[in-house]
Subunit: 350 residues, 4 copies
């Protein structure tokens, strides 16, 4: 399959509107933005990085882009963009549940006495330890979807044409796993759609459109740049609380999100390198009637464009402080085979 | 128990030697190093942050210290300090094993047809997905030990006096879990002891002494500063390869590490905020004859001083490039109850 | 704590009623019932088997009792008393969830090629295999609660005085685990309370009383004998279906069950060796106002009397065929540390 | 694929020898053995039970055969044929490891206080409970391999032609899972090959041949009957001890077992319904040079003949007491999707 064919008609009128913006200059804009390699206006990224590539649009990061992003962080003020995940936390029901289990405990270590080095005669200080065993899914909590997470076609291929028959396996995926995702350090932009609409959180099933993108950029007096990490705030995470246990409330608001058109707008017109939000799936659900899939924005971004997706990012503090531009930093666990970074703690630094 | 009592005699001669260093000035030294709160030369950190504190020495991070650390990263060159973890990877045998299991696969999703939205009539593009279920321990791969990981005494207390009878539980620890560890952004210093000794990797059971610290600092023309993340290179990680499957070789070299005296030296004389290495346990093993525990440096650093420990950090690339001073950034997963950050990907940025 | 003290006043009037029964003789009654060791009318079983005992009332099984039970099975007609357990199945919410995950699959084995012996040149028949990894709780599906499952007192002791401080541990319990439960082969008796009441299933919170026991025995023309496995039918399992996925319906009917008095009646007057039902917890819930625990029948049966409890037994077919007396056979998995036999398949044979 | 074609030349001389036996009559032989349906001398069982069948040779069990088997148990003496399984136990390295983890503990329940019904004011007796969470493989400990465990061919089919493309899935197999295996009650026959050879345990890689079968039958003065469960004793389980922790010793002896010819001999000449042993894989390993698979007896028995395989059966006590004929009873867990009964406790009753 060839990706990125011009299947989706694009609203030229939207582009015209975008071009008409008059925006204040941000900190980064003051300095010359670094060159972004790979991206082409009008078509986006795509499968352009070679047959062996597993990174997609993240290939556009260079020391120059990273250094530029870090310069946005001169105040050293950090925002923790992760949500606390526990056995009680809201998740998409199709994923496996979680348990964090006390595996070794000081009392257990001493009662079982299964290690000679804890015997009182050689351990007079009564030292012991805690450790936990975890059963957990790799698509829960604050996430970055890897490029092998979703597949398309009868051949079940993912980004760059990797096919299940070749690269599937019993221990996770064997191409594009999350262990291979490099540290992501880039300019982060918050698009506060809930703030724009003056609501606590967008209502269920709200579709964030290209016009909403334009309006938020105008309201926030900001321009997007190629290579940005763009994060949409629906407001859903204001209901996460301690550990996301209010299933009903979270489920309701979790269904607001971007449309396929908005995904295209970001990638093809603005060169966004990673697109995310504060919901479990970024895109509006259910998909519009007539879609060729239940998650058209996932297919477009991940499979066709090689753009990673950020999910369940906690954006409340950024919004409260009106921090719309910042240095975004995220690292995924290096666990072989995983399909996403999960239960993450991305950071926004101003 | 009162921590930080002057139980351990301290080698004054070593201090004198340290004071005699004449060092070249580093990038950070050129600018005024920010004030570090909480630390006192001669005693270190300790339980000084209030009865409810769960962060220990990490409390010394401020926007100023973070901004200063970020200024070390002006080139934007990143070093991935994590090692890839899989079912085959070396770990301490007392921890639970790992499996990353393909939980949903495109073929499985289609064969089971257990979700209406994947039916061909509403999913003409044949969309499906991969996800994994993980069974994993929270003390494996590249780690940051949390302040509740190890305990001491008949009351099994950990940092700040949290006792098992009060704060233990079935779902991990209820104080000082790794979900509460803030993003760590600080000046990182590599002490390349293997390089100093001109060996590929330190031999089994090698004890890294305060004198080794001094010699490495001198050879690397560097000074330590309060608030540093100090990482010792034994060279063991050069044998990690793809995923740490060479159990015998790794086990052998994994036993080199620092002594209790070295831990004290770093904390009490230099104000190190986090101390780590490229082995599973930082400290030399077995503990010296006559120790009151099998892991005296863990007890001192974590329980008594509130200093987090870094483990299995991959330092080979930093050493190769002679990058001894850098911006260290690490974030742990936000999983409630966990005792450590595991399978991490800390980053060094120059 | 001393068990079995006469704390609970006992309804003598009930006994008198019981003594007045005139019952038809069953198959086993025709032959002389074997001597049952250990049991004493009026007090039951209790901690009488020695300080090291872990089996409780099951000690009363002998080759003679087993042979007598097997003689009830002369037709060779089997009834499967287990229910099918899956990730969707109803369970008490305090237990951990279940996943059965395809661990190795023929396609995965061939794609990964991680075993030399599956290479085509030495495996021309294309042989491969399936196996599953399970994450599961030991208190789900059709169960037999072990004698260490529940505890009482500030010392958290279980049957026979085993205390948590001595016999607890990180890998399950270290006394009375389900791996030590011998094969159970005994006379089984069905008490069809739903049938007696002429309802599909007992209503929520229905309390099965000693009078119900008497009435069912009279209606079924049956006598209890010491050493019996007594199974109460509430009818709840008629709603289990394929795998117990109708959570709401099952939860509703799951709350019917026996009272503490009924448990005492069975053990002290009739010498029941194991008491079970077709619900998750045998006893009525919630416990009567003023109880000293939320599960008084569990405390009495398991902790004080050493009587195992059977749960989620599928009794619909036995009831349909009016098979009220049969040979009951059950074996638990031999998994060290487990607190119960789970997802079992006990058998009734007529 | 058509199974059971006469691909394997059969040693007529062996048959002739078998016919020449003069054997003492056993308990069961005294009474007329029940008719066994389905089996044909010379060809065995095979795919004869209809397109929807999932049980294979177990279909031959009827109330009559079960009643006959139970008549072998008139003494009521039981032999526990299961081995205790723990995290330390020997298993085939290709399976996932096991952990039995204390999930809820009395102390944890009380410290966390996450259930209102354990509050002291409503729980004056201090009631609490233990439960365990298990991570375990379905091919460990004492096992009965289901008919979907192994597959053959490019289409990865198993017994009765079920193909992976149709009946595979993410949650285990969707045809022939172990949840569907009926209670197995049949005449059990021990063939004590280690006893015959007068060794503690057969040496590594020993091939048990049809001649060994004949010699054991002669020595034990026994005849096989259609419908038997035949168990071969290599003696390996004498090294299991508490929980099979002596990996080296067990691994060595685990490689003795039957040949493909022996499997054929049992099924085609004697009508064995289930064939098992005291090793992890029943058959000799490695497979003879030139085999078309690494497990030819598995392919023959499970895929082609629909005969379940028993593994890791503890036969030491039966051998010690020279109990060669008994009632074999085994029930597998009712866990949807599982490929085998695992950590079982089959019983031999005399």
């Amino acid at each position: 399959m060839k990706c990125c064919s011009p299947r989706y008609p694009f609203a030229l009128v939207v582009l015209a509107a975008a071009a008409a913006f008059v925006l204040h200059s941000s900190a980064q804009e003051k300095s010359k933005a670094p060159e972004i390699r790979g991206w082409k206006q009008g078509t986006g990224w795509g499968w352009i990085w070679g047959q062996e590539d597993q990174l997609g649009a993240l290939n556009s990061m260079t020391p120059e882009t990273i250094a530029a992003a870090l310069r946005l962080a001169e105040e050293g003020k950090t925002y923790d963009l992760g949500v606390r995940y526990s056995r009680n936390s809201y998740k998409w029901p199709g994923h496996s549940p979680a348990e964090v289990m006390t595996f070794r405990s000081p009392e257990g270590v001493k009662r079982q006495a299964d290690n000679a080095f804890t015997a009182p005669e050689v351990n007079s200080s009564g030292q012991a330890w805690h450790s936990c065993a975890l059963f957990i899914n790799d698509n829960v909590g604050t996430q970055i979807d890897g490029l092998g997470h979703v597949t398309a076609g009868d051949d079940n291929h993912w980004y760059n044409g990797y096919k299940e028959a070749d690269w599937g396996g019993d221990f996770g995926i064997r191409r594009c796993d999350a262990a291979g995702i490099p540290p992501i350090i880039a300019r982060g932009v918050l698009l506060d759609i809930a703030g724009l609409k003056k609501v606590d959180a967008l209502p269920a099933h709200y579709s964030i459109t290209p016009a909403d993108v334009d309006a938020a950029l105008a309201a926030q007096r900001l321009k997007l740049q190629p290579g940005d990490v763009v994060l949409f705030r629906t407001g859903a995470m204001r209901y996460w609380g301690e550990d996301g246990a209010d299933q009903e409330l979270l489920k309701e608001h979790d269904s607001a999100g971007i449309t396929l058109e908005t995904a295209r707008y970001l990638v093809e017109e603005f060169g966004s390198m990673l697109v995310g939000s504060d919901t479990s799936g970024l895109e509006v659900s259910p998909a519009p009637e007539g879609s060729d899939t239940f998650i058209p924005a996932h297919k477009y971004l991940i499979v066709e464009q090689g753009v990673h997706i950020g999910e369940f990012h906690y954006l409340e503090d950024l919004a409260r402080d009106k921090v719309y531009e910042f240095c975004y930093m995220a690292t995924t666990n290096k666990i072989a085979g995983t399909t996403a970074g999960f239960a993450l703690r991305p950071v926004g630094v101003k």
